[in-house]
Every structure is written in structure tokens, then in C-alpha cells.
């Protein structure tokens, strides 16, 4: 019960009450709505619950017919086996490393670029910003063939940088940050210039701290997107040692055979880091989707 409370507290955006202001009465209509909602919520959670249940069964009982949520006994056998025998720890490390580096680079480069476009004037600025905006329309999927050829000639196939670099240039993030910076009051910055601060100090000590919420949203979405990206890491890594978790899992999918408990244990391990990110940063994620349409590209 206390775990449930903890999850609920983490999931509830600050200042939001469950009752949402006026408490409505439990009319028959509202009870019907509640039943609908509960049914749909259960339907949405069932596949996850079934995967979890499967992963906790002994392997030879997963193919039994009939609804057996729990096998003859609960066991973490499947988790132990996939952790010890497979490449899972390696893939987890690769994914965490790639997602972290991509996130740091993306936030840094897009924030700097957005500051440059919104607060300074230089020759060719309008043209360059227009070029960046036009790039929002280009889906990365269109570029796979020439990008792969480029990676071959740069000798970046099967390297971390080969996975990371094409995912850093996200023009949509620049656009979101420019919009945000344009809304910031300039008075603080001007006061700092009068005090003799340079552009970099103003950027690091005033603009960045003021933009923490939007930067957090950009960071979280970049992290989730990079962690989850399938197509590009799938194309640019051929060596199993360098694969990210989603690619690795799909790659060995057939080798699980009928060991469904192990397959589901891998699935749970693969999804868990994201679930943790979601529970902890739910407020930023919800705000990111609602107010900037982030991750809608």
C-alpha cells in the first residue's frame, strides 16, 4: 500500500488534487464512466501484467493452456539466466551510454544554437535559421541510405559515435528553445551586461537557469527517444557487442525459442529503465507533451 502511495505521489503533478477543484457527486452517469475507465485501464495494463507474470514462471510452464497467472512457484530463474548468459548487461550499458551522451550533446548544442538565434545578430542569421526550420520537415528515416554511405566513408559503422551523431542534430528542439528564449524577459540579461558580464556568462548564469523546465523537457524526451530508437542503431550496428538494447533484443528474438519466461524477463528488463524515468519525471513529460508537442515529430 505504501508503495502505491509513493507511485501516486510521484505521478501526481504538483498542486493537482485528485478531485480537481469542485468535488462532483457520484451520479449514476459518473459511476458508469468510472466503470468504463476502469475496464479500459485494466485492458491496457493486462499485456504488461501478463508479461510480468510469464517472466516469473518456470520456463516449462509458460506454454500451459488456461489462465495461470502464477506457475507452480514464483521464480526469478528467467531473470538470472538472461542476465548471466546473454548480452543483456552489455546492451544496457551501450544504450545508457548512447542515450546519455546524445542527451547531453543535444541539450548543449541546441540550447547554444537557440540562444544564438534568439539573442544575437550576425550576418546570414535569418537564412541559417530558415534552413534549420526547414529541417524539421525532414524525417531521419528518409536519410538512411546516404547517411549509411557517409558512415561507411567516415569509418563510423559499429561505433558509438556512428549511432550518436546523427541523432544529435534535431532542428525541432532548436525551434522549441528559440520560442522559449524569446519569451524570457531581457531585463536581467541587460543588467548583467551593464555589470560587465560577457555573452557566455549571461548564457550560463542567467539564460540556462531560467530555462531549466524547458531544458529538462528537451533532455527527457531526447533520452527516451534515443533509448527507444530502433531503425538507425539497427542499421549502423552489425556487431552484437555494440548493439543497443531494443536492437539486441530483436536480433536474438528467435534464439529464445520457446523459453518465453526468459524472453519476457528480457522485455521487462528492457522496459524497466524507461518506466523508472517515466515515474520520476512524469510531471515534465506530461508538460512537455501538452505544451510543446514534444516527441510529436
Amino acid at each position: 500500500m505504501s508503495a502505491l502511495t509513493a507511485v501516486r505521489n510521484a505521478l501526481l503533478p504538483r498542486g493537482e488534487e485528485d478531485s480537481g477543484g469542485r468535488t462532483a457527486r457520484w451520479t449514476p452517469g459518473r459511476i458508469a464512466l468510472l466503470c468504463c475507465a476502469i475496464l479500459l485501464a485494466v485492458l491496457w495494463l493486462l499485456p504488461l501484467a501478463w508479461a510480468l507474470a510469464t517472466s516469473l514462471k518456470p520456463d516449462n510452464e509458460t506454454t500451459d493452456t488456461g489462465f495461470h497467472w502464477i506457475g507452480s512457484h514464483l521464480t526469478l530463474d528467467a531473470y538470472r539466466k538472461v542476465w548471466e548468459s546473454g548480452d543483456l548487461p552489455r546492451w544496457l550499458f551501450n544504450t545508457a551510454y548512447i542515450a546519455s551522451v546524445t542527451t547531453v550533446l543535444t541539450v548543449l548544442l541546441t540550447a547554444m544554437a537557440a540562444y544564438g538565434f534568439s539573442r544575437t545578430r550576425f550576418r546570414g542569421q535569418k537564412v541559417l535559421y530558415g534552413l534549420v526550420l526547414a529541417g524539421i520537415m525532414v524525417p531521419p528515416q528518409v536519410l538512411i541510405a546516404p547517411l549509411f554511405a557517409e558512415m561507411v566513408s567516415l569509418h563510423l559503422v559499429d561505433t558509438y559515435w556512428g549511432v550518436i551523431l546523427p541523432q544529435v542534430a534535431v532542428p525541432a528542439m532548436v525551434f522549441i528553445l528559440v520560442k522559449f528564449f524569446e519569451g524570457l524577459p531581457r531585463e536581467l540579461e541587460e543588467a548583467a551586461y551593464v555589470d560587465g558580464a560577457g555573452r557566455w556568462r549571461v548564457f550560463w548564469q542567467i539564460v540556462i537557469p531560467l530555462s531549466r523546465p524547458v531544458l529538462a523537457a528537451v533532455a527527457i524526451f531526447t533520452f527516451i527517444q534515443t533509448w527507444n530508437n530502433f531503425l538507425w542503431p539497427f542499421l549502423v550496428t552489425t556487431d552484437p557487442n555494440g548493439m543497443t538494447l531494443p536492437v539486441g533484443l530483436v536480433n536474438v528474438q528467435s534464439s529464445f525459442g520457446v523459453r518465453y519466461a526468459q524472453m519476457m524477463a528480457s522485455v521487462i528488463i528492457g522496459g524497466l529503465p524507461l518506466l523508472v524515468v517515466f515515474v520520476f519525471f512524469q510531471r515534465q513529460i506530461v508538460r512537455g507533451v501538452a505544451h510543446t508537442g514534444l516527441a510529436g515529430q
Binding site: 507511485v7 479500459l40 544575437t120 536519410l143 554511405a149 551593464v194 519476457m264 510529436g296
Partner: protein, 318 residues
Amino acid sequence: MSTTTPAAAPPRVSQPPAPATARTVRRHWLEHGLVFTLPFLVVYALFLVWPLLWGVKMSLTNEDIAGTHSDYVGLDNYADALSDPDVWSSLWNTIWFTVLSTVPLVVMGLVFALLAHHLRFVSWLWRLSWFTPFVLPSGVVCLLWLWVIYPSDFGFADQLLDFLGLHPGIGWLTDTRYAMLSVVLTTVWWTVGFNFLLYLAALQAIPQHLYEAAELDGAGAWHRFRSITLPMLNRTTGVVVVLQLLASLKIFDQVYIMTGGGPDDSTRPILQYVYQTGFTGYRVGYASAISYIFFALIVIVSLIHLRLTRRSREENPA
């Protein structure tokens, strides 16, 4: 670009002229606006602009993946693509998937948002159950759903339907009639949470007094929904539909992982055909040409999106 341009003065603040020592020149350069944008622009040029242009050049050649014999063939690749029945069938599959997935994703996103908004009760639970799948990797989601639907007899979906008195015994992924629907089902479960959140935010932004006034006028719940909620959601619906179209057109992961494009290529989307011609068939030039035909489709939808967002900004200047 213009490295010799003097540093632009910060807005509305004059700076005293500094003596031109090497140090101040360096300082001026570092204070220069272009420096802030340069790191991003370099990465952007190398990994987006360059491949985009290089791809055009590739599409005009008969290049293979090793880069050997790369002869200029003009628009032959485009002409070939437009007369290739596989291009048309995979384009059709892509559009069919987009239609099949967009309708339930938008409608259910709205239904979920309405439920959560009107219940105003355990809102964390609705968010947890409907949005959580969205943050999971496609690989994880697809393997999970393979386990839920694929094994006949002991598959979870078959057993659930059996329990409800239906005896489907359908080949979820092996029957051409159901394979695409199974991919759609997985996709709806996976991504409906995004539309749910967009709609929820829009619902919360509708002024409460509109409803109170309507209630005083004796308008029933259905009437209030028809005459207040739906019109107020018009703009959001436009954005949700276009974002959904763009996302659905890029379908690859779910099909590749769950059906491999089968049975009989009946689910193969255009991106998988690009992958097959370029990466397993080694006809990179041809693959690029198909990419650009696909790109044209995306650009058309994007331009509609741009128009919609621009109009919404004009109507509602922040």
C-alpha cells in the same frame, strides 16, 4: 561564414571600444553570435543537410552500397520506382496502415481524455495505464505483443477471447486478413497515450464558465459536449490528426519486428522496401529514389501541419 564581422553589441547596451589586442580579438570572436550556433550547425550540416543532398545525387546514379560502379542514370530510378508494383503495394500498405491506425488513435485518445477529465478522480491511475506504453521501446512493445497474440492456443489474446466465449483460432500474424490489424492493435496500445495527453491538456484549457452557462440554460450533457467541447477541441484535433498521420506514415519497427512485412508482403511498408532494396539488395541509388518519393508525401502532410499551427497562433497569440 563571416568570421570578420565585428561582434554585435548586446541589445540596447553600448560597449566602450576596446584596444585591438590579440586577446580582445579572440574575446570578440568568442562573444560573436555565430559561435553559439556554429557547433549545432556543423553537426546539422554533416548529418542532415549533407546526406539529404548526397541522397539526391545517389538517386540519380545506379550506385551500390560499396560505392563501386556509380554511373549517372538521370531520372531512371524515379521512373523505375513509379512503375515498380512493389513500390505501389508498399506505398498502399503504408497508407492503409495510416488510415487504420489514425482513426482509433485519435478517437480513443479523445475518449480516454474525456474519461480522465470528467472523472477527476485517481488521475494518476489513468495516466499510468494509458501513457506508460508510450515510453517503452518499440522492440520491447513488439516482443511483448508477439507473446500476447502470436502463440496460438496458449497465446494470451486467444485465451482471453476463449474465456469470453469466442473461439477465434485466427492466425493473428499469419493470415493476410488479420496481420495488418494485429500491427494496428499493437500500435494503438503503444502510442494512444500521446494523443490522450494532448487532448487532456486541451480539455483542461476550456473555460469552465462556458459549461456553467450552458447548464443554467438547461443544456444536457450530450448537448454540452456537442456544442462546447467538440468545437473548442477543433484545433487540437487538427494538430493531433496531422501529428498522427506523420507518425503512422513512418511505420517500420512494428511491422519489421512482428511480421517481417509478411504474410506475402501484405504488411510491408514503404520504409521496409527502402531498407530491402538499399541494405539487403544493395541498390542504394534506387533506394534513395524511393526515399524521396516517400519524402514528398511527408512534406505534403508537414505543410498542412505548418498551416494549421500558423493559423492557431494567429487565432490565439500567446
